[in-house]
Every structure is written in C-alpha cells, then in structure tokens.
Amino acid sequence: MRGRTLIVGPNFSGRSRALMNLLRATSDVPASFFVGPYAEAALSGLSSVVADEIRIYQSSDVSSSKADFSPLDFTSLSDRKPQTLSGGEQVLLALHCFSRSAYQSIAIDVALEQLDGANRALALDYLGGSSRQEFDVVLTDNRLDGPLPHWSCTEQTNESATFACDLPALANHLLPQHAGPLAIHDLHFGYRNGRTILRGADLTLEPGAAHRLLGPNGAGKTTLLKILVGVLTPSSGRISLDGVCYEPARTGNRAIALATQNPDHQWCGATLREDVTRRRSTLTRRIDMPPPADERIARLGRDLGFPSLDQPLYELPLAARKRLSWLWPFSGALPWIMLDEPTIGQDRDTRRELALVVRRLCALGYGIIFVTHDDDFAAQVPHRRIAIENMTISTS
C-alpha cells in the first residue's frame, strides 16, 4: 500500500474485503490504523474516557509525528466516555488519535460518511488534500465516485447478486397511513454530565412531508430522535401527537418507527424473524393499528434482498444490516418514520432508490424525519429543513 487509494464500487462488490487485503498484503507496513464504520471498529474499546483513547495511540517518538488533526476541542471532551460521543465525533476522535500516533498508514471503511460537511471536508483535506505525502491512506466512501487529486482509484465490480434489493417494487407495495401532527413545546433536555442539548425548543412536524434534521456533529440530532421515541426523558416541556399529549417515556413508543444510525442499535432479536415478532407483539392490543401480516413482512424482506427471515442479523455485512433496519419503518406499522443517517454504507443506486421510497411514503401520508449529512440524497427528497444548533431548533 503506497500513497492514497480510493476503493470504489457498488454494495457487496467486495470493497471492504479489498481494503483488508490491501492492508494484509503489505509486508513493509507492520500495522495500519483502522477506522471502521461504527464505534466498535473505530475506537480501541480499551479506554474509559477520551483522554485515555488518545493516550493509547499517542506516539512518544517525535520523528514519527504527523500534522495534528483536531477539528474538535478534545481537551474539553477528555473526561467523556468515548461511546457517549456522537457517531461523527467518534470518527473525528479516531482520526485525531491517528494523527498523534506512529502509524504510517490508515484505512477508513465508509466512516467519513458520518461527518457533517465541514468536518468531512477537513478530514478529506487532512487525508490527502495536498500533494505532501506524510502517510498512506486507503479509503472506501460511497460519496466519492472517483479519486481526488493525487489519489489512485481501485474499482470493484459487482461479484454476485447477494442481497439484491428492489426498492422500486417495495415502493409500489407500501400501505397508506394517516399520521397526526407531531409537536414539541418548550422542550428542555440535558445529559447528566451537565451538557445541555435543547433549551426551550418548539417544533411542529406535519405528516405527509419529509423533515430533514440538520446540525453539526454532536449538536443533538440523534438525541432529539431518542426523546421522541421515549428513550430519553426531557427535563421539561411537552410532546404532543395529533394534538394529544404524548409521553413515550412513560407509556411506550406507539407512533414512531426508528431506523438508527448504527443498525445494530435497533435489533430486538438475533434474527429478523425474532426482531419483527417482538415488534409486532407491541401492537397486538392496538385495534387502530394492526400489526403487519407475516406475508407482508416476508415480501418486504425479499424486496430488501433477504429471502429468508431466519438469517442471523449480526452475520450480515453492514450495508445489508443497514437496509434491513428500514424494514420495520417501511412495514406500515407506525405512522411516523425516523431515519437516522439512512444512506451510510449505501451505494449511489440504493441511495437514489431510497429517496424514491421516502417520497412515496410522504405521498401515502406518513410523517418522515431524516437525519443525513448526505446532501445529494437530501436533494432528491423534497423536505423542510430543521436545524439544531446551540441548543435551539430553527426551521426553514
């Protein structure tokens, strides 16, 4: 491995495998820094706080030092647990650790897709914006179709039809819904460590439309989604659904299907069948909202590229798990759908078809909230912008 290499290709074409092979085949590089798509493959897992994560990788050899990459103030984050950082912040921390380390090569597997526009530009510039060569880079990234200046490009062709999905067919079989308006009133929320995320936030979300949640890494986008599904309880303020007070933290989530940023944060079982069975059990006593039938779930599974529902979820590749995370939101079980970074790990064709599905869901009456740093995807979905920054929410 020498220089900067971008590995491109469609999903399941073997990009991640090619990246690993490139690292392992190189005998003159003893070890490379690796940033995988999510925390367990981006951070060491050996540290309790951010300061320790940096300490593990810190090089004592001045001669091996590289330019420092510090887009965040890591000193102020030093006593935070690494896993409590947002997905984007974790990637930035990993890159910061690399910049302090003695490693002379880095491999990044779609992790940069979690960064907001400004941080992504900084990261790409650090990795290879200039011709000055300090270290080797190998990168897979779905939002880069071709190499940047000074980069070489390796193209993977589609090896098999594994997990071939048919999102246009899925869009044709979606069921109509009647979602009510979802609103938050004077919402305040802060974490126990004293970090305030929302201060007096007001927002009304109308069904039949898509709402894009925007904000820099760590602003609180995922936190707001977690409040709306009842995982986090606001310190004060009110949520209403269809004009009626809605307390998901107390009564349970009965309105919103969430596809999380890391798909592994949403599974309720080891297989898709187990996961769906448990989700359906929460709807069995709902007359107004019957759970989706077996045939419907099986059909959605097939359209997403999974002929069998008994496949263990954790054995699937990331891109496949990410697609499967859409199954429950698209099943018609719940009127509101929240998609947290839905395009991570997805190739251009899948992203385009996903946009088609989201447009169709809006037309069918669902309320959609999506978080994405993928402007190309967002441009394909007519949406209202909701920005979270400095503890406030603004709309445009």
Binding site: A31, S32, F34, E40, S44, S47, D52, R55, G252, R254
Partner: protein, 246 residues
Amino acid sequence: MRQRQLTPSGAVAFGLILIIAAMASAGVAGLALLAALCAAFAFLEVGAASAIALKRSLALVIPLALFMLIVWVGIVGRSPAEIAAGTSGSRAAALFHVALVCARLFLIASVLQLIMARFALTPPLGFIAALRVPLVCKRLLVFTLSLVETFQHAIDRAHTALVACGLLTSRGSLRNLLHAWVLVQTVWLTAITIVVGRLRDKWPIENTLAQLDRALARGAQRTLSRHDLIWLPLALAAAVFAIGAR
C-alpha cells in the same frame, strides 16, 4: 528529585494495608485507630471530595446494616460468639456484633472511595499505567475496566433498541418486568457483537494491544513520593496495632 504528591502505587498500597488490617482487626481500639488514620487521609489528601466519598460509603453499607439488624438483633437475638459458646446471649451483644461488622465494612468502602476521590481527575489508564506492578497486571486491569465499559455500553444500546421499538418504557412499568428477559438476552448479544467487532477488524489490523502496552509502559512511576513515604509507614504501624490489639 523525589515527587511530593501521593502516587497511585502509594495510594493502592495504603488502601490495601488498611483493608487487610480492617478485615483482620479483632477489637474496637484497632478499628478506631484505622478510622482515625482514614479520617486524616481524607482531610489531608482528599479534601472537600471526602464528603461525597463518605456519603457513597454510607449508601453502600446502610442497606446491609439494616438487613443485619433485622436478622441478628430482631430474629436471632444473640451474637455469633454466644451461639458458638452455647450461652443464652443478648440482643445488646448481637447489636455490638452488627455494629462491629458494619464499621469494618464502612471503613473498607471508605478507603476505596477516598482513593477514587483522590485520583478522580486522573484518567483510569493514567492511574493504571503509573502503578508499580508487572505489565501483565496492568493489562488485566485495563481489560477488566474495558469489559465493564462494554457491558455498560451494551446495556445502553439494548435498552435504546427495546424502548424505541415499544417493548420497554424508559420509566418503570409492568411492561419492563414482563420483558426483562428480552433485555438480558439483547444485552448479552450486543456485548458479544461489540467484542467480536473489535477482535475481528480493529485489533488485528492495528495491533492495538501493542499500542496499549506502550501506553502502559510510558506512565510507570518508579519511585515512591514523599507523601507515600509518610502514609505507608503510618498505615503499617496502624495495621500492626489493629491486628495485635484485642
């Protein structure tokens, strides 16, 4: 020049001596001396954070004290020594026994909490790296902490998944009781997948454990500080007295 401040090694040795002495001491006088030394340590080394450390120790000991009071004073009505001697015994003796056990436990908990409070601003890895123990022991400590963190993270992730899908609620509910087993199953599955993710991808490519070894070796403090050399002899003297005094 010798460092002045208490070192992690000095604090751990001080704590171990006090804990062993508290467990082995037989009389009230010995425990009182250990408690006095502990109070001096709190005052001189820990300062205002001692109040929180002592509150936490109380919170740990009070439930056990209540349970022991019910069992030994309320139900049994005799001390274990009286039972062994076959005498009729008294509730006062049982109360004295409970008080002694709880005082001992409170002392042990306090020592641990005070040391944690003393080094609250030191990152865990920095604390472990500074210990004068073989590298393998430091590694073991880091792995233990890592496993604890992994389980905490797995609990958080599993809880998020189950609340988001409506199977659990964030606040207490009957639903949570009914589905507690699903949470347990999901936590285990999540913890395993997190660990497998690290072992399969991150660690082999990076040789992360070699990085850890280097980080642990970098922070080792070879000599004891002046404060260590004050507290350790005091702890040893108090331990000798506490174990010897009847």
